[in-house]
Amino acid sequence: MKEAMKEVMEEAMEEDILALLKENVIQGRRTKNDEGVDGDMVGTPAVLELTQLMVESDIAPEIIIKQGLTAGMKVVGDKFATKEYFIPDMLASAEAVSGAMDILRPYLDGSSTMTKGKFAIATVKGDIHDIGKNIVTILLKGAGYEVKDLGIDASPEKIVKVVREYEPDFLGLSALLTTTMVAMGKTIEALKENGLRDKVKVLVGGAAVSEEYAQEIEADAYCVDGFHAIRVLEDFQKVKL
């Protein structure tokens, strides 16, 4: 299979392969075993295989990201907005892009195209509900962010340590319960006490959280869901520019 794919790569023009990569992102096909939306692509190279082969063919990572991965995700986002695609489609594409970014990461060092930013994410202390956090993680990776997942029941101390050492641009805090969301406020207090509050934008979300609560604990943003989080991050990027 690998040889056959190499042949395809050699015969095809670079733009054809990028178009193929983009199409596979749109189809949400992570590996060659995935069906995709159309269901008839099993066995043909998908995002991971194509990314690997493109890297081996010395195609610049920034071109792969911009013209293949990001371009594909743009189409996926548009299809989601028009309700042609649903969340499982979005997540499948995001997972595929996330996998591709893992392949590209070693080649990005020193390159002009870095990820969109570093994002640390956690379900706060006392809370073990992580479905929302996991979905946000996949979407963020798919959108081009480097994500460090601190898991569940993350104490303020653990989060402070990661912010200090990993130096994320953004910190996402999640809580499902009204009894555990207070840990978000405590975490922000801990960041302040350690002189780290200005170093990171704090985004909060989860079923128990509201816009009012986010303001009360002085978070930088409240996000309704993962898609909203990505829009909020884009707004932060615009301000930075």
Partner: protein, 515 residues
Amino acid sequence: MAREGILVHSPYERMTEEQIKQIHHASVQILNDPGMISFNCEVAEIFSANGAEVTSITSADNPCWLVRIPEKLVLQAINSAPKIVKLGARNKDNSLFLNGEEPRVFFVSGSETNIWLDVDFPTYVKKSDPGTEIPVPEFHKRRGTVLDLCQAAHLCEHLESLDAFIRSVNIQDKDITEDNKDVNKFFASLNNTTKHVMAGLTSLEQLDNVVNMAKLIVGGEEELKENPIISFITCLVKSPLQFIDDTSQTLMEICRRGLPVVVSSAPQAGSTAPMKEDGIMAQINAEVLAGITLSQLVNEGTPVLYGSVPVRARLDTLNDSYGAPETSQYNIDCVQMARFYKLPCYATAGVCDTKIPGQQTSIERLFSDILVTLSGPQYLHCAYGLLDCNSTFCLLQAVLDDAHFQMIKFFLRPPRISEDEVAETLKQIRAVVATPQKLYIRYIRPLMRSGKLSMPYPFEGDGETDNVFALAYERMKQLLAQPVEHIDPTTTKKIFEEIPGILSRLNVYEERRKQ
């Protein structure tokens, strides 16, 4: 090919086998004592010629007879009535096979309403915020016309869950008379839907014109027998226990022509039937059996449906109360009785007491729609678009009803559990548990576009706004904008030449030519 309906795998049943037999025996006793009163002479003669005890009870100028029907005649009729009835359609793929032994449900519109309900959405200015305009649905009543009936048939053609069309509007145009009503209502319906068309007959004199019209459409007499694109409803019994003169005559003439017919009775528990469940059941069952017996005596093998429209009385007005839970109980009991006789059942659901679409309307409709469907009637008159106890028809409501029935049909799909499915699921569970995110979402994708998952409610509003009516109205307009396959120009020309009384404005080809 034919329409599939939805098979109810384990039908809901209220009565035990013993109770069903008790009702049957009570009905048989009722038919013998007190028996049926017949206001039709020929009915009395037919029963008399076949061994029933018939006595004249004529008083003054009101000729009538008491007919005591022996059990033997009833049982013979139950045996000779077909257990499977085919209802054909202009598009043969829309044909229905109603099998009295199989609880496969087909959803059907109805009945003949006098009022047509239009809807529009005028906007109002919010007092506390004059910059905000809010659209509010308003409903306007008017008398139904033949063009309204065309529109109703057109819409029903495109309602996915609807399997057959019972004319839903009483046409009351100034140029509609008793002499041309039947041909116009059948033509308006047949020309705007390719599904099966059922209606009652206003004038017996028009029966042959209607039948001849159907023959022209399908290509002849034999073709109509093979593909009966029309059928009839007759309410030959007036509760309690009376054969009506004209509708009994109509039933007999339809039977002589061998076309499918619903033999229905519509007693009201509390006024024209006992209020208690056993009482109304024993009576309605006797009344329907009496009609079926007559149909088989007139023409053995006539395809008949066991037709039931029982309803409870409201105690504040003595009007019908279709929204009462007892009405659904009676209907489900009737479905069980028909199944006991292995006869296809015409049952009733979805009729509501309310006059306009709204919350009470949806609650009353869904309550009986779900419950009566679960009992597995073959031909369910489920009142698409009907309001105010069968008095009003509203296209918007029909669109809302279609969404309900699509949900009900989805719910009734059988469980997908098999060795292969379970093996596949175990693989899936093991794979997901081994991942960091532990989410099954990626496995939804193959299902999403396979039709194996239900879709969200189609009229869901954004955020906290209830936009159900506005969205359903948009859907209604979309459906009406879709073309409908009319009867072809040559046949239309023949129909207008050979069948008297059809209004020229129903000739779509002539109307187009004028434009």
